[in-house]
């Protein structure tokens, strides 16, 4: 991120602004390369490639190693950059051929999840190969100087970057309009089935597209190297911005991606140029991400399909029709009572450590159930559900820290925090659908994360807020466990009650067929907005409990990894049943706790497990069970 410069050293404001503008434009180039790679891949494969940030990161690391190995110099540097792009492209091809090719027919959520598994794997591989320290990027030979512009000096490399993006744009335009490959890609973006019926083998087309997209991301990582470092946080660091760029620019539009990247660069410039001014005690450069969010919001309200994207056509229904949600059979209810009895008796049987784990599992069960309510009942996929968990946690923690509220009162602030965040973000999100919506939820979660991270005076920044302890009556582990158990069970029953209420039925009607639901007078968008807010509320309760369990909150609670954890829990248990997320939360938390205690490279293992699960059960475990054991009936 940009550091705050001081504008008050006598520099004429216009010159200062121009130099900042050029810096901003230079930083837009890498973002554009990564975003247009993502957009190209999405256009043809309809997969939102979460691992795209990983290609970007690998591009930077590989360029670093290649330049070092080639001994620097002009050919060493540019040879290294090109090698990095090619290597990233080939890694993309490997990923497409080994993983994605098997799951092109799986629901999009599973595809997203598989690519996130790749993110985890790449993180640990990069940690193993390049170590935990950031690597300082080499400078570009021949472009190390600066050009004077009035009293300001513009680095030559910035000028190169500014010119590089339009150059790539031009080359891509030629590729897509003057080559057979490009024309086939454009045709396949619109109608893959028809392209196949005309005799085109899509296998190499998809692989080719993956090569191109991944190579562009790798190139983006490589060319930004002289401006910064190669580091392990680059992957998730850029992905949210890339999502913003693609959603604002319009999915599938390369020129749109360029314009959106420029727009975001300009917002940065504005924030930095006004670094001196402050709003509510926050310096403007600190709210850079909030400004980006505001602009994105305006664009999406005016043009929900992005600057240059295609208007989405409302389809009859998305994907397969899900079986109706039925009340649990009597046997299952008895089983649930037995589990409840076990949970009540647990403090008498388990040790402190086990009880803490059990408390955590209960909290995550509520968190997963809140996401399941949104996804399974509402049909709204959220990739940033941790935002509301985190807002709940911060809601409670801030009350404790700034107003010295007791736990009992602070726990009521938690659902308010989650619900308020979901109310605001949800208003925008429900305007979109499907993948666009999922990307937007992730972008919002990143913004919430950035606010918690940057608003140091209030949130404590990276350190978070410490000393959030329960009231004395609930201070012991068994007592707090009891409190969590009661709250979670009440909340789960409330979720169940809502799912089977008229509102729940309307929601499910909107999920299965938005068009028909609309036609019979259900305001689908409004229903989804309520559902979004409710899901935020329940997630907030879970977050509040979690804050008191850990005694602290930190921005990690809003991070992408936690959002994905929740998704894995829901998918593990199966989307079709209300009990699913509970089973998923238990399985996943136990699995992760085990892996973390086993090795430092637990991300690698977790990533492999996720990818393996998706490949083995492309329809989800519940779908697998259904296909496997109920197949005879359908074949008739």
């Amino acid at each position: 991120m940009t550091a705050a410069p001081t504008a008050d050293n006598g520099t004429p404001p216009l010159e200062f602004f121009l130099s900042q503008l050029l810096t901003g434009l230079a930083s837009a180039s890498a973002l554009f390369l990564v975003a247009c790679g993502l957009t190209i891949i999405f256009g043809v494969t309809r997969i939102v490639n979460f691992a795209h940030g990983s290609f970007y990161m690998l591009g930077a690391y590989i360029a670093y190693s290649a330049i070092t190995a080639l001994g620097g110099g002009f050919f060493g540097f540019w040879g290294g950059v090109i090698l990095a792009a090619l290597a990233a492209g080939l890694i993309g091809v490997a990923m497409e051929m080994t993983i994605l090719r098997r799951i092109y027919h799986a629901p999009e959520l599973f595809q997203l999840l598989a690519t996130f598994g790749v993110v985890l794997i790449v993180q640990d591989v990069a940690l193993y190969l390049w170590g935990p320290e950031d690597l300082l990027g080499p400078r570009a030979p021949g472009l190390t100087g600066a050009v004077a512009m009035g009293s300001q000096r513009i680095p030559e490399y910035d000028i190169f970057l500014i010119l590089f993006a339009p150059l790539v744009l031009g080359v891509l335009w030629l590729l897509f309009h003057r080559t057979r490959f490009g024309i086939l890609v454009r045709a396949a973006t619109q109608d893959r089935q028809m392209v196949a019926a005309l005799g085109v083998n899509q296998k190499w087309l998809l692989t080719g597209v993956f090569f191109l997209g991944a190579a562009l991301a790798g190139l983006g990582g490589a060319i930004q190297l002289p401006k910064g470092n190669a580091g392990l946080t680059m992957d998730l660091g850029i992905i949210a911005e890339v999502f913003v760029v693609t959603v604002v620019g319009g999915m599938g539009s390369i020129l749109g991606a360029y314009l959106a990247a420029l727009l975001i660069a300009l917002i940065r410039v504005f924030a930095v140029a006004n670094a001196g001014s402050s709003l509510l005690g926050i310096q403007l450069w600190q709210v850079e991400l909030v400004l980006i969010f505001a602009v994105m919001a305006v664009v999406l309200v005016v043009r929900p399909w992005g600057l240059l994207g295609k208007r989405e056509t409302l389809t009859g229904h998305h994907g397969a029709v899900e079986p109706p949600l039925l009340a649990a059979p009597a046997a299952l209810k008895w089983f649930a009572l037995a589990v409840l009895a076990l949970l009540v008796a647990l403090p008498g049987m388990a040790g402190t450590y086990s009880l803490v784990i059990a408390t955590e599992i209960l909290i995550f069960a509520l968190f997963a159930a809140s996401l399941h309510f949104l996804m399974g009942v509402g049909g709204v996929i959220s990739f940033g559900h941790a935002a509301y968990f985190g807002l709940g946690a911060y809601g409670a923690a801030l009350m404790v820290k700034h107003f010295a509220w007791p736990m009992e009162a602070a726990l009521f602030a938690a659902p308010l925090g989650g619900a308020l965040g979901a109310l605001i973000f949800g208003w925008f999100c429900v305007r979109l659908s499907g993948v666009y919506l999922a990307m937007l939820t992730l972008a919002f979660a990143q913004i919430a994360w950035a606010v918690a991270f940057q608003w140091i005076d209030v949130t404590g920044g990276d350190n978070g807020i410490l000393g959030i302890w329960p009231s004395s009556w609930a201070a012991t582990t068994p007592a707090f466990y009891g409190l969590v158990l009661v709250v979670v069970i009440v909340m789960l029953l409330a979720i169940r009650r809502i799912a089977f209420s008229p509102f729940g039925y309307a929601l499910r009607a909107g999920r299965d067929s938005p068009l028909r639901a609309d036609a019979i007078g259900i305001d689908v968008r409004r229903m989804r907005w309520f559902a979004f807010t409710l899901a935020g509320l329940f997630a907030g309760v879970a977050g509040g409990l979690f804050a008191f369990l850990k005694g602290s909150v930190s921005p990690d609670l809003m991070g992408i990894p936690l959002s994905v954890d929740a998704l894995v829990m829901v998918l593990l248990g199966g989307v079709q049943t209300l009990a699913g997320p509970l089973v998923g939360a238990v399985t996943f938390t136990a699995l992760k706790t085990e892996l973390v205690s086993l090795t430092n490279y637990w991300r690698l293992l977790l990533g492999l497990v996720i990818v393996g699960l998706v490949i083995a059960f492309p329809q989800g475990i519940a779908g697998f069970v259904r296909d496997r054991f109920m197949a005879k009936e359908t074949r008739a």
Partner: protein
């Protein structure tokens, strides 16, 4: 016989669309696959080209079994498919649409180039750089056929080529199909419009509720009032 379909069944989910469908067409012949809306005409064609792989049965094209092979392989054997909904690539220009359909020349089959196609479809020649999305329905229908011909097929499946076209354009379409027959192409067209089918087809097969009800020459069909009233009149 050039193409022999025997006993194919097809499902959409649990819905049984085709049951034991069989038909055949000889080289150089035009076969009309007739039937009412929803009878299974489109699905039959989609099963042949592999877009709806048949659950059972066999499809032999030039002595080769093609049932359940991927559609791009079937298309590359020389089987062209013109979809009902046209499915023009609306972002692509006329020339680019043709480029997507281009395949290698095939021995013993007329070889098509954009220029040769423009001779048959003069309208398209005037708009070669226009995006497909900015063309009229009739022009799009012509482009769909031209695009399929770029693959140099020996047999072309046309799904309701006359649907939604103005009467004058329908006549033009009939002339075009006759011209293609003159070139030596074999055609199967699905149709609801008996009048149109009479203009171009040699033989007819009638499908009703997913089952074949009649097969014979066009003349036999015209003589068989019962078959026509039972399966074709609305």
């Amino acid at each position: 016989m050039m193409l022999v379909v025997e006993g194919i069944s097809a499902y959409y989910g649990r819905a049984h669309i085709l049951a034991d469908v069989g038909l055949s067409v000889a080289r150089g012949e035009v076969l009309a696959l007739l039937g009412r809306n929803g009878a299974g005409k489109s699905t039959t064609l989609k099963s042949i080209i592999g877009l709806v792989p048949p659950a059972a049965g066999s499809v032999r094209f030039e002595e080769r079994e093609i049932a359940s092979r991927p559609s791009y392989e079937i298309a590359r054997l020389g089987l062209g498919y013109v979809p009902e909904e046209r499915r023009i690539f609306s972002e692509l220009t006329v020339l680019e649409n043709l480029e997507v359909g281009r395949q290698k020349p095939r021995p013993g089959v007329p070889e098509w180039t954009p220029e040769r196609l423009f001779a048959i479809f003069p309208n398209l020649a005037e708009m070669r750089n226009r995006p497909g999305g900015q063309m009229s329905g009739g022009e799009q229908q012509m482009l769909t056929i031209a695009r399929t011909l770029m693959g140099n097929p020996s047999l072309v499946l046309l799904d309701e080529p006359s649907e939604g076209l103005a009467p004058k354009i329908v006549e033009q379409m009939a002339e075009t199909l006759k011209a293609l027959k003159q070139e030596g192409l074999t055609l199967i067209l699905s149709e609801q419009n008996l009048h149109f089918a009479r203009l171009v087809a040699d033989r007819a097969t009638i499908i009703e509720k997913g089952r074949i009800r009649f097969t014979g020459t066009m003349a036999e069909l015209m003589a068989d009032d019962d078959a026509r009233t039972a399966y074709l009149t609305v």
